[in-house]
Subunit: 123 residues, 2 copies
DNA sequence: GCAGTACTGATAACCCATTCTCAATTAGAC
DNA sequence: GTCTAATTGAGAATGGGTTATCAGTACTGC
């Protein structure tokens, strides 16, 4: 099972690298089609799944939304989602004092923060 | 359209009031059936939707999970979800210094925090 | 009590993100 | 250039949460 470097994969990787936040399969498709109009949604899903298995990408799940994908080597960060356009943008840094809020009997592994509001591009 | 006080609604309201965190429709169903074995999932969904419309309950969306519902008059808080049993438990308090992480051009409206780990009941 | 209608329970239908199928295409070793 | 299997694109199929349908039930005003 030799891996091949297809144009589709190259385009998808470029999109992930240039993204300002995690993208959905549909967003990957839209972005990819502007460079490779014939690419289909099945290919996008197949490759996103594969990139996750290979450790290149990481899935980001947001409430009530389709899965999004971001580079796996990103440092700890959180996300902002615009109420209007729905775009998700990375937020660097983190003020984590969550541990102190729970009793000792809870063994904390991680935490996710999602900030809502309006992004600079929306009215 | 006169509102009626059915046994089903009374049970669902009791369950919501006694919950340690937001419950899914399935969890409402399971809890309700121990008191009212004939209650069906359609009735649960119908009433949860109705309670939300009436402002009694509020929907809580967690990544990759069915909607959950909690009392609408709860004060600002966050949630903990157990990696093992999946239960969701309220976390009082909040260390919010998120505003400072984003540029001024982002107008922040709210934030959600979800803490992951193991609850006291799980190994 | 009775009537009228809001409500319920069972199940079929729906919605939509994701996966599968399969014939056609193409990267890459030789 | 040839060969072969990995990959692709289109559309069908899937799965799970939620909603719609409809005949039967049971609140509540009188």
């Amino acid at each position: 099972m030799h891996r091949r470097n297809t144009e589709q994969r190259r385009v998808l990787r470029d999109i992930a690298a240039a993204a300002a936040g995690p993208l959905s399969a549909q967003e990957f498709l839209d972005a990819a089609q502007s460079e490779l109009p014939s690419i289909g949604i099945a290919t996008v899903y197949r490759n996103l799944t594969r990139f996750v298995e290979q450790g290149e990408l990481r899935a980001v799940e947001l409430p009530g939304e389709a899965s999004r994908y971001e580079l796996a080597d990103k440092l700890h960060h959180h996300h902002f989602q615009c109420d209007d356009c729905g775009r998700v943008i990375d937020v660097e840094g983190c003020s984590d004092a969550f541990e102190s809020l729970l009793p000792e009997s809870f063994r904390i592994r991680s935490h996710d923060v999602l900030i809502h509001g309006k992004c600079p591009q929306c009215p």
